[in-house]
Symmetry: C2
Subunit: 298 residues, 2 copies
């Protein structure tokens, strides 16, 4: 079966009614299933996870971006997570029989339509990038280059959008593309010392010589008064969860800091779970020996 996972990030984590509009659009689409919604108040950001047939992916993606553009005003947006637009990032992930190329094609179809019909500038990233620099999301948008900076620079040098106008309106800009599955994971530390957090984040991330497929960032979480190691695992097979967890634990111990807990954002592939379970249980359980009630349809 040709399925696509979409994990759009929207720049609103506070208005339930806006998120409900997005959820309803998924429910009204044939052959689409809403798997998860996560609203984050501090980040002022929501992530929804959808599985949809390849056939219906483009239409649903466009509809979601349209709803976000109509309802989220980037002129008044505040939140601690870097952001570009109402629909901030729109990733397409191939599942089952869908190929990466098919996802790339869908992403460009949606990007073109969003640029032309909604007048939202679109930057294509990951496997859909048209230049090597745009393969990495952090090269496009990061802590020091967000919507405020984009407003000044768009249309010049590195900031010519792939689709849409060279101007930033109410809905901001959207980053779009096909990518492999990713695990978003936060580990909380029993400390309010951001410097300790930064050292740990640096020790484990590929960019600084740590695990090749880990992207990480230390954030101070006001609400809880603790430091969070915020991670994206872009290849959980090569860098399994347990190994990262144990590395964070070991690194934190150096500063007399312990792990307070962890949280997953969105979906975790079952084989990532099984791999770490088997590590701790010293076992060799296979995916097809897991009895899954909820998905046990026959």
């Amino acid at each position: 079966m040709k399925l696509v996972e979409m994990v759009p990030n929207f720049s609103d984590g506070r208005n339930r009614s806006i998120i409900a509009l997005l959820e309803n659009a998924v429910r009204e689409t044939r052959d689409a299933k809403l798997l998860d919604t996560e609203m984050d108040y501090d980040h002022n950001r929501s992530v929804i996870t959808v599985v949809v047939t390849l056939e219906n992916a483009a239409e649903l993606a466009y509809r979601l971006i349209e709803i976000a553009a109509e309802n989220i005003d980037m002129g008044v947006h505040a939140g601690i997570h870097p952001r570009f637009g109402a629909t901030d990032v729109m990733p397409f992930i191939p599942l089952e029989d869908t190929t990466m190329d098919e996802c790339v094609k869908v992403s460009h179809e949606v990007g073109k339509r969003v640029g032309e019909k909604l007048g939202v500038p679109v930057f294509m990233y990951a496997n859909s990038a048209l230049t090597p620099e745009r393969r990495s999301l952090e090269n496009i948008r990061n802590k020091s280059f967000q919507i405020e900076q984009l407003r000044e620079t768009i249309g010049s040098g590195r900031y010519i959008p792939d689709y849409g106008p060279s101007s930033v309106g109410r809905a901001g800009a959207t980053i779009m593309g096909a990518r492999d599955i990713l695990i978003a994971w936060n580990i909380y530390l029993n400390t309010d010392n951001i410097h300790v957090g930064r050292r740990i984040a640096s020790a484990i991330r590929g960019r600084d010589g740590g695990f090749a497929y880990v992207k990480s960032l230390a954030l101070f979480i006001q609400e809880k008064n603790v430091v969070q190691i915020s991670m994206n695992l872009v290849n959980y097979r090569k860098n399994p969860l347990y190994r990262i967890f144990e590395a964070v634990r070991a690194e934190a111990a150096r500063y007399g800091v312990s792990i307070a807990g962890s949280e997953f954002i969105g979906m975790v592939p079952v084989d990532a779970l099984v791999e770490s379970f088997n590590y701790y249980m010293m076992s060799d359980l296979k995916n097809n020996n897991i009895l899954n009630f909820h998905q046990g349809k026959i």
Copy 2:
């Protein structure tokens, strides 16, 4: 959806062709799915795991018992595991919307038919037992009371079958009933000292004051020259895997012994897996945040 898991144990672990007949019967049944087959040469015993709709459970169970009765001759059976008959045990486990009472009803329907049509004596156990003594499988059949002893005693005292004749033929007798889901799990220890194994098995099992829902036994495994703690977890929600694992680890450390590994027999419910994963990751991942490719049909 009303689903039933069946985990029949057959007294043949050596003839692939007989097991293939049983597997085919599952494949030919509408709304049934074969999840797992385990053939054990030493035990001369096979366990197959099936999920089927409540509606089709009785028919499939009968068909499997019929095939086993036609193809397995208990007159020539040898193996180290205690056994009563060709279909040795036939458990029915309620899944999703099925209730225990519905499984009890199905088990009695099958028991009656097997007794009358196939002439195989049937003993109802677990939640289907008609007397308190028969609730426990070990009270019916055990190391010192197997088919040889049953042949002499059937029809008298405690050994009057619930269905079928008071005589043991070629297919032996069958133990049948509805029960809760169970996890079969072995932990291997880095020792050949059976006395250490027995102390650990005793420390963790309910019968001796350990975890209420753990049944355990220490076995010396010749082939590997190590001791195995062989366990049945009859309520994995009350006694989660990680807690048992850590208790075995702590208890073994007392004797300077470590855990060498563990293995699961048959299926593990996804929520048992998630619970232990969450313990080690200090997270709170929910079942419906697990992305299962193979079962990702929408």
